[in-house]
């Protein structure tokens, strides 16, 4: 029975196919599509028979072949970056169509939420697209960096210059008090994870943000959806915007066409700015040479006053022990000075190769690529590599049913090095080393143990005069590991195996109604192994320590969409109803072992003690139902609205549902008023009102009990069960569970205008937005006498107002020569409107407990609070008076009847808890200039950042120990600017200065004791911070790119090579800034909301490279 049915069905299908082929009278046309300015062929251009779905795309040589019905009248030819053109078919069979380069801002088709392509002209909100070419210009490894300065409203900050280091991206400022404010990353419609997964974000190593796994060579374009109107269809996941990535696909073609594309890039990197260290003063204190074990200060004498001893030996100094010139054993030679920074950092190298095969015919297409990136950093042994394999394809199963799928496998990771507040950070090790100590010990190979080990195997450090026994706790001085010890003995390796992709079914239910179901997954494991060999100072690694940490991160996402599209007279209606399911499941397991059996073997089995194993699983799920309606009147009046209801697992069960929506509209004035002059080519205005939300982290509604540990204030302690016993211990957790949690709500009003003049030679796209984030989810501290130390509550409101402007100018547009300039301007004002409970400031991670970025009502986001100089009402610094002033404000009189002299006279006075800086820039401006002459193209991008403070914590700490150039004024006299104190405030006990207070004239001689390390005015992380807050404005040549595309004519007739482009590029080649440290583009806290802290970050790099692109 069944067989008969099948046979009948097959016969019917066959008949139908025959019938169709008879009915549809067809002929075949061919042609080539080229660009007007450069006369280059355009691959991937779309050629469609007008009014039908019949179409194809051009191959690598810009050619196409298409069977068209005899009654076809016109062809529509379009390509990314070119103006759409319609051609009459007539009786022609060969078509050579020349396309005009489009004005990118206006004619673009851009990918919007859920992967829906729309003409930018019809958008009712702000969204910006960056094409694959633009992304690849600087050959950035991390796609987040490749967006830098290219999108208005977006700020990108990289954590440091090591390979694979994370970068933070914020769209329209920070949207969340305590969350990361990172946008949602979506690849081909499926959310992918961009997490950072670092427990100690201020220390550890430069971990990656996981978007680093996306190979830029596979990207077709990136759309940045900025406000909630654009992201409404993503709901709570998109509270901070969406970065929508569309990957390359095989081209659909009437005839089978296969293209192979090969890209090979090689570049070199070097440190772009070194830290300015003093090279004149030796180890020691108070001007005297001292090299006793544990001596960390460089407040010794001038090196020129020291000699190598002719008789005394020293394991650290092959030339002889260093002694004062007056020492009887002093020889004739002054100790050598070493530039340890320049000796340590090497040249980094990057090799990136990518091969892709794309193929397609009328019913389907395929894209396959393999990419391999290998990097070595400027720090010895620092590496990052990435291998990607991608396969995607699409097939039409019938005229109505289409299936597509994509899968990408990524293997990435490397050997990382310590950073930040970390005794295994290499910068700590280098910068703190006095200039007369050679970290290489005369060797040139950074991996040679002679450089970093004493003959007895213990760590070679300037602090260890004697070859101490590294295992003996009493013999170790507190301090960072030597840099070469760190790179050789403290390895940190991470490895990610990741698969992401989707499967999708599209079905045309009715001519006006289509359905789509898409299921996506992003699954990865991230394994990290860090080890500290026996004898390390850092990482609590004295006896050897290793930890193994594994994250398994699974994200599943399904979308179901019904789309209706109907035209009623002049009105075109698009309606959409959909459903979304999102699930994220993260498990983390962590094993921390110490006390090695033998040195140099980095495996958990080598540890004799396993402490604090962690196994945790965190799940979040959401469901959503949404609808969107867009009405378009004659293409010039557009109204759009959406509603989305969301159910979230992390909200209290009885209140886990919430609704938000958006309403937006646009009017194309030039079309509405039928203006089409040359002067004003285009004008459109738009406005929107939209909401988005954010949900609490999992498990926030209950209070839990946790495994107990007991420790002192620095965390030195034990955990249960105490080793050697099986007695367990639990304690109530410190966070109060909150059963009243609600989602955060973001409401944004946005208005914008897009105008173009002089036949689109000048175009401007300006957006103003005002967004309010209410019910911020804030973990606020609680008085611990309540039994708890924190509670997650909804409190506070944050406002982001700003202007985004994109100006595109084409000053020269000749037959062969073209000059285009694009300006991306970002200005965001981020104001904390309230912080909930009684207006208490919210403290963010800072440094120590005295220097802190805070959220203070009425202030910008994360302003710096710390200690500064006491000032009077007129802002003058108050200087300590000659004689002491008592608590009553009167001069103190000694037993001898005379005023008591003030030992601090002439110095300024510290005051804590002052507002001392603002990390938010005034504006960001990216200027891209592209000059092309025929096949030659030169492009360069200026990145300008105005304002925004950075606390140079590195400088603060190194000043405290005498290693910065500002400590070269030790021993010199200084008259501090300010007025002399005349009294005291009886309430606060602080000095006051009357209006007539005299200007300070007291000269003081600066010394280690009375200035650099003096109580109350010291430098250092806990000292007076104001001195180290600096303006981090910069002008930077972000990238330069010179490319030459071999003329198409060279390959005519070639069966093998079809095109080739050579590119020379540079990144970060020039940096102009008044900042005194390394490159101010650095961030201690990575993706955390606290920004503007520079604390022993790894230096940034500049690079130069060559790239070859060939198509076969």
């Amino acid at each position: 029975m069944q067989r008969i049915v099948w046979k009948t069905a097959a016969a019917l299908v066959l008949n139908l196919a025959l019938a169709l082929s008879v009915l549809a009278q067809e002929r075949v046309i061919t042609g080539q599509i080229t660009g007007k300015t450069d006369n280059q062929s355009i691959p991937g251009a779309s050629v469609v028979v007008e009014g039908t779905n019949r179409g194809t795309t051009t191959d690598a040589s810009g050619s196409f072949r298409l069977a068209v019905p005899t009654d076809a009248r016109r062809l529509t030819v379009s390509a990314v970056g070119y103006t759409k053109q319609t051609v009459d078919i007539g009786n022609q069979t060969t078509f050579n169509v020349t396309l005009d380069e489009a004005n990118r801002q206006l004619d673009e088709v851009i990918v919007t939420a859920l992967g829906i392509s729309q003409e930018k002209k019809s958008l009712t909100y702000s969204a910006q697209q960056v094409g694959g070419d633009e992304l690849l210009r600087a050959r950035e490894v991390n796609i987040v960096n490749s967006l830098n300065s290219k999108v208005a409203g977006v700020q990108i900050i990289s954590q440091g210059g090591t390979p694979g280091a994370a970068s933070s991206i914020n769209i329209r400022g920070k949207s969340s008090f305590q969350g990361s404010s990172q946008p949602l990353f979506v690849v081909d419609g499926v959310p992918v994870n961009n997490s950072f997964s670092t427990v100690a974000s201020s220390a550890s190593v430069d971990n990656s943000n996981r978007a680093v796994d996306i190979n830029p060579d596979d990207i077709e374009s990136i759309s940045v959806l900025k406000g909630p109107a654009a992201t409404a269809l993503y709901g709570i996941q998109a509270g901070s915007g969406v970065v929508l990535i569309t990957t390359k696909k095989g081209s659909r073609s009437d005839a089978r066409r296969t293209t192979v594309s090969y890209n090979s890039t090689a570049s070199v990197e070097e440190v772009n700015r070194y830290f300015p260290l003093q090279d004149q003063f030796a180890q020691g204190t108070n001007g005297a040479y001292s090299d006793v074990p544990g001596q960390t200060f460089a407040f010794g004498p001038r090196i020129s006053d020291l000699r190598y001893s002719s008789t005394l030996t020293d394991a650290r100094y092959p030339q002889g022990r260093i002694v004062p010139a007056t020492d009887p054993t002093a020889g004739p030679n002054v100790p050598q000075v070493f530039d340890n920074q320049r000796n340590f950092y090497q040249r980094g190298r990057t090799f990136d190769n990518h091969v892709s095969v794309s193929s397609g015919n009328r019913d389907g297409n395929l894209y396959f690529s393999v990419g391999r990136l290998a990097q070595t950093g400027v720090i010895p042994r620092n590496t990052f590599d990435r291998t990607t394999v991608k396969l995607s394809g699409e097939s039409a199963l019938s005229a109505k049913l289409r299936i597509s799928a994509s899968a990408t496998y990524v293997n990435s990771g490397g050997n990382r090095v310590g950073r930040g507040d970390n005794f295994t950070g290499v910068t700590q090790g280098i910068y703190r080393t006095p200039p007369h100590f050679d970290i290489f010990n005369g060797q040139s190979d950074p991996t040679n143990p002679l450089a970093y080990q004493f003959p007895n195997g213990s760590q070679r450090s300037f602090r260890n005069r004697d070859q101490i026994d590294g295992m003996n706790p009493s013999d170790l001085g507190l301090g960072p590991d030597g840099p070469l010890w760190t790179v050789n003995k403290n390895p940190y390796r991470d490895r990610v195996d990741r698969v992401y992709g989707f499967g999708q079914v599209n079905y045309q239910l009715l001519p006006w109604l289509s359905a789509m179901f898409r299921g996506g997954a992003d699954v990865f494991t991230d394994r990290r192994v860090a080890a500290f060999d026996i004898g390390s100072f850092g990482g609590d690694g004295r006896f050897g320590r290793i930890f193994e940490e594994t994250f398994v991160n699974k994200t599943f996402n399904t979308d179901f969409l019904l789309t209706a599209n109907r035209t009623f007279g002049d009105v075109n209606l698009t309606a959409l109803v959909g459903h979304n399911f999102f699930a994220n499941d993260v498990t983390r397991s962590y094993l921390d072992g110490n006390t090695f059996n033998q040195p140099g073997f980095f495996n958990i089995s080598n540890a004799t003690v396993i402490a604090n194993p962690v196994q945790s699983r965190t799940r979040r799920q959401t469901f959503a139902a949404f609808t969107n309606l867009k009405a378009d009147y004659k293409g010039w009046a557009i109204l759009e609205g959406s509603l989305r209801n969301e159910w979230a697992s992390t909200l209290p069960t009885n209140a886990n549902s919430f609704l938000f929506g958006s309403l937006s509209g646009a009017v194309v004035i030039t079309d509405a008023l039928k203006l089409n002059g040359d002067a004003l080519s285009f004008a459109k205005i738009r406005a929107s009102y939209a909401q988005a939300g954010n949900i609490p982290p999992a498990y926030s509604t209950e209070t839990f009990f946790v495994r107990a540990s007991a420790a002192d204030g620095f965390g030195n302690g034990i955990s249960f069960p105490i080793r050697g016993s099986n007695i367990g211990g639990s304690t109530q957790g410190n966070q109060i569970g909150n059963v009243n949690l609600r989602p955060e709500l973001n409401t944004t009003v946005e208005v914008g205008a897009e105008v173009a003049f002089l036949r689109n030679r000048v175009s401007l796209d300006v957006t103003y937005y005002d967004s309010r984030n209410r019910n911020q989810l804030v973990s606020i501290p609680r008085a611990s006498s309540s039994g708890f130390t924190s509670e997650l509550i909804n409190a506070g409101e944050l406002q982001n107002r700003g202007i985004e402007a994109i100006l595109t100018v084409t000053p020269v547009k000749r037959e062969k020569f073209r000059w285009e300039a694009a300006f991306n301007f970002t200005r965001n004002r981020n104001i904390v409107l309230s912080t909930g409970d009684a207006g208490q400031p919210i403290l963010m991670p800072g440094f120590g407990t005295i220097f802190q970025p805070r959220l203070v009502p009425g202030q910008q986001f994360g302003v710096f609070y710390g200690s500064g100089w006491l000032r009077d009402a007129q802002g003058r610094v108050i200087i300590e008076p000659q004689n002491r002033i008592g608590a009553n404000g009167q001069p103190e009189i000694g037993a001898n009847g005379q005023p008591v002299p003030n030992p601090n006279a002439g110095f300024p006075v510290r005051q804590d808890n002052l507002l001392i800086g603002n990390p938010n820039p005034r504006f960001l401006l990216g200027i891209r200039n592209t000059l092309s002459y025929g096949s030659l193209s030169l492009s360069f991008l200026w990145d300008i950042r105005s304002g925004g403070d950075v606390w140079n914590g590195t400088e603060a700490v190194l000043t405290n120990i005498g290693m910065t150039t500002r400590t070269l004024d030790r021993g010199t006299q200084r008259v501090f600017d300010g007025v002399v104190a005349t009294g005291r405030d009886p309430q606060t006990g602080l000095y006051t200065a009357s209006a007539e207070a005299p200007a300070n004239a007291q000269a003081v001689t600066l010394t280690q004791a009375n200035w650099f390390q003096a109580n109350g005015r010291a430098t250092g992380a806990a000292g007076v911070h104001e001195q180290f807050v600096e303006d981090a404005s910069w002008v930077r040549l972000r990238d330069v790119n010179l490319s030459y595309k071999l003329p198409a004519g060279w390959f005519n007739g070639s069966k093998f090579l079809k095109g080739a482009t050579f590119t020379a590029f540079g990144r970060n080649l020039l940096l102009f800034t008044n900042y005194s440290g390394i490159d101010p583009e650095t961030s201690l806290y990575g993706l955390s909301p606290a920004q503007g802290l520079d604390y022993f970050g790894n230096p940034n790099t500049r690079s130069a490279g060559l790239s070859l692109n060939a198509t076969f």
């Binding site: 965390g715 309540s786 608590a887």
Partner: protein, 489 residues
């Protein structure tokens, strides 16, 4: 059309499937339970309290007392009397309120619900000790409204502060109730191995409760000299410790990660922050105290015992000795030695000089016996002759020779690195002993933070100042380091 509808339904199926889903156990935390039994709460609370008392509190108090000196980092700051609200918050926010006292309050509540007085008794003794310690550092502190941040009814996140005097009454009440609880004939459950102090020995807990009652009565020596002495002695007479073996203390394990608080601190990254105090080293050297090499580790080269001066960093000074610098060094709550000194002091205050001398001599002997027991890991052996010589000179007082100064001085040595020693020293300050007994000299640069005065209390933790501001401010402005707790007049 029918097929279209069918396909449409087919596509709709997953939608319906998903809409029908409930979250189920998605938001049920697999990583932490929502409850814990008493027998795991108790050891955690004990260890946390021990790490608080013998951690930050002992570290900072011992620096104030110049038994040790700070040479680096925050320890140098504390030595210079810059103990700020941040540092004071570490033990309050860590070991005391959320770390041990909150859990003890849960045990007391659970034990009442389950009718387990034996657990409640142990928890009350520990709570009394914690509370007494808090009052000795901060005077007025929250208690009656404390630990209610999560209470379903009458939730309090900003508890009011109770007066120190009243809390001393609470301490005594808790201990009185504890003795009743511990002597209850039946209990639903009783502490056993989970009791890190006595392994479930309730008789000893009763002794410890009386010892603590004596301690806190005796603290009132300045306010009510006679009454405090009488009450302290009453408790001792009712039956308390009779040997070092009765000490209420925890001996942690003998590995680094099972170690007691002093070793764990000294072996950690910041353990280099302290060295032996110059005053302490000089005092013991001058008396040929055989405990010196046990308390202070001899330098391998140069002068063996070098201390760091108060408020000045001398990193080359000697490190702490084997008696404390080993994993299994006992972490004390209250000891036989202390009890004997209390007995001596109380008797002396009441004019019973012979009893005072006898108790003092017993305390010194017990301390020597305990401290100078051999420690193989440090190559330390008992020098019987030296002990004997010391006892003859300093442990053989009589009714005629015994003085309060002698008792305080010996107690200062005997309670090395115990926070209680700082309480005693503060009590020893009188108009004719303005720098206490033993007489300390001010730390260098004391002008900077205390205007040339000794610290007499801890400042309120910054966390309380910020999160419980109104209640802290109600305690008055004078809560600086040089202000005094209620019994220190």
């Amino acid at each position: 059309m029918f097929r279209t509808i069918k396909s449409f339904l087919l596509l709709l199926a997953p939608l319906a499937l998903l809409l029908g889903c409930k979250f189920g156990d998605v938001n049920v935390n697999p990583n932490a339970p929502t409850d814990a039994p008493m027998n795991v709460l108790l050891p955690a609370a004990q260890a946390n309290l021990s790490y608080g008392i013998n951690g930050d509190i002992a570290q900072f108090n011992s620096i104030f007392l110049q038994q040790i000196g700070g040479v680096e980092n925050i320890y140098l700051s504390v030595a210079q009397y810059d103990l700020n609200g941040n540092l004071a918050a570490r033990v309050w926010d860590g070991n005391l309120y959320p770390g041990s006292m909150n859990d003890l309050s849960i045990i007391i509540r659970k034990a009442s619900e389950l009718n387990a007085p034996h657990y409640r008794g142990v928890a009350r003794v520990l709570m009394a000790n914690a509370l007494g310690q808090a009052v000795d550092l901060w005077n007025n502190v929250p208690y009656s409204e404390a630990f209610r941040g999560n209470a379903p009814n009458n939730r309090v996140v900003q508890p009011r502060y109770d007066r120190g005097e009243a809390l001393y009454d609470t301490v005594q009440t808790l201990l009185t109730q504890a003795i009743v609880d511990l002597q209850a004939p039946t209990s639903f459950a009783s502490p056993g191995r989970d009791d890190l102090v006595y392994g479930g020995n309730r008789a000893r807990w009763v002794l410890a409760a009386r010892a603590l009652k004596a301690r806190y009565f005796n603290h009132l020596s300045k306010l009510a000299p006679e009454q405090s002495a009488q009450r302290a002695l009453e408790q001792l007479q009712a039956g308390t410790f009779t040997a070092n073996a009765d000490d209420a203390r925890i001996v942690f394990g003998n590995t680094v990660d099972a170690a007691g608080p002093w070793f764990r601190y000294l072996v950690g990254s910041f353990g280099n922050g302290v060295r032996a105090g110059e005053f302490f080293v000089n005092l013991l050297s001058s008396r040929n105290d055989p405990r010196l090499p046990f308390y202070v580790r001899a330098n391998p080269t140069g002068a063996p015992f070098v201390g760091t001066p108060a408020g000045v960093s001398r990193p080359t000074a000697s490190q702490l000795g084997g008696y404390v610098n080993r994993p299994e060094a006992p972490a004390n709550f209250i000891t036989f030695v202390e009890v004997k000194f209390i007995e001596a002091e109380a008797n002396l205050r009441l004019g019973r000089r012979a009893e005072a001398a006898a108790a003092h001599n017993a305390a010194v002997a017990a301390s020597l016996a305990k401290v100078t027991a051999p420690i193989a890991a440090f190559g330390l052996t008992t020098n019987a002759a030296a002990n004997q010589a010391y006892l003859q000179q300093y442990g053989a007082e009589t009714a005629a020779t015994i003085t309060l100064d002698k008792i305080f001085t010996e107690k200062y040595i005997g309670l090395y690195l115990e926070p209680e020693a700082w309480t005693d020293w503060r009590r020893s300050i009188t108009p004719d002993r303005p720098t206490g007994v033993p007489a300390l000299t001010l730390a260098a640069s004391s002008q900077q933070f205390t205007s040339g005065r000794f610290p007499r209390r801890w400042p309120y933790p910054l966390s309380e100042v910020q999160q419980n501001r109104a209640n802290v401010e109600a305690q008055g402005a004078a809560t600086t380091l040089t202000d005094r707790v209620f019994w220190d007049r």
